[in-house]
Symmetry: C2
Subunit: 139 residues, 2 copies
DNA sequence: TTATGTGCAAAGGGTTTGCACTCCG
DNA sequence: CGGAGTGCAAACCCTTTGCACATAA
């Protein structure tokens, strides 16, 4: 586990700052490419590789959450909660709400142990159509 | 949803059969590349593209389950249960056990609805170290 | 000064696709 | 015979990496 007190301090750079600002500005999960394009569009020149490298670092430090989309893209988001939580994401607009589910955590842990597993981890993501999108396209 | 009764029938081919056999022979999630290599090794010539195409088709028909690994690979497995279920996978040896969790399903559905979401779906995977692997390497 | 961070472009790795050929029905 | 299925190789796409240059400490 990456511990804040042990973590080697990282040098503050213009690029890193721009990245943080960009992330602070949106509430949806976004891809590295998307973020990079956004920065470029707003005149902030940052190498794509730098975006990837920093995003990974920030993820490792728990500054941002990462999700692997079904299409195989990693999308990032600065989350409100520092603690372990899950997300309900709108398939239509990307609206994201954070939720915690102790019951689920315990269930996963228990089920795994029942089968002789230890060092249990889990991933859980929920997606659907938010109220607004459901009205717009009531599939 | 792909309905068996509506699904356009697929032509039986040597390749498809080989693929099914291969899948029937293992209990772990395997990548398309891995499966392809296995077939080649056993003398069964099948194009890699064909493996990918069939695996996708089978997944769409619910004949096999797919999981996206953290490394961005899709891994496939012929499951015992036809119904919706989740997996507990051993990080050490790949041992996989299928589990159902009605409580979790209901929780996800409820949480999403509480936030105004509809057409809810979810993905949940659990991983850990199986008893055997825990002994071998008690991390 | 000097190690860390950045940029660029090339390389990687898994997956998809175009197109001509095969083979089931 | 006609079209679904296949093989091969090229194309794709996201991501990572090597290396020379820039920069915070």
């Amino acid at each position: 586990m990456t511990d804040a007190s042990t973590r080697p301090e990282r040098r503050p750079t213009r690029q890193r700052a721009a990245l943080s600002d960009e992330l602070a500005g949106t509430a949806e999960f976004r891809s590295a490419q998307d973020i990079h394009a956004s920065l470029s569009a707003s005149g902030t020149r940052v190498g794509l590789a730098t975006v990837y490298r920093n995003l990974q670092a920030m993820a490792a430090d728990g500054e941002v959450d990462v999700i692997r989309t079904t299409e195989g893209e990693s999308v990032y988001r600065a989350c409100a909660s520092e603690q372990h939580h899950h997300h309900v994401v709108c398939r239509g607009c990307g609206l994201t709400v954070e939720v915690t589910g102790d019951a689920v955590e315990r269930w996963a842990e228990a089920v795994a142990r029942d089968h002789g597993f230890s060092h249990v981890r889990h991933t859980l993501e929920i997606d659907g159509l938010c109220a607004a999108c459901a009205v717009r396209d009531p599939r």
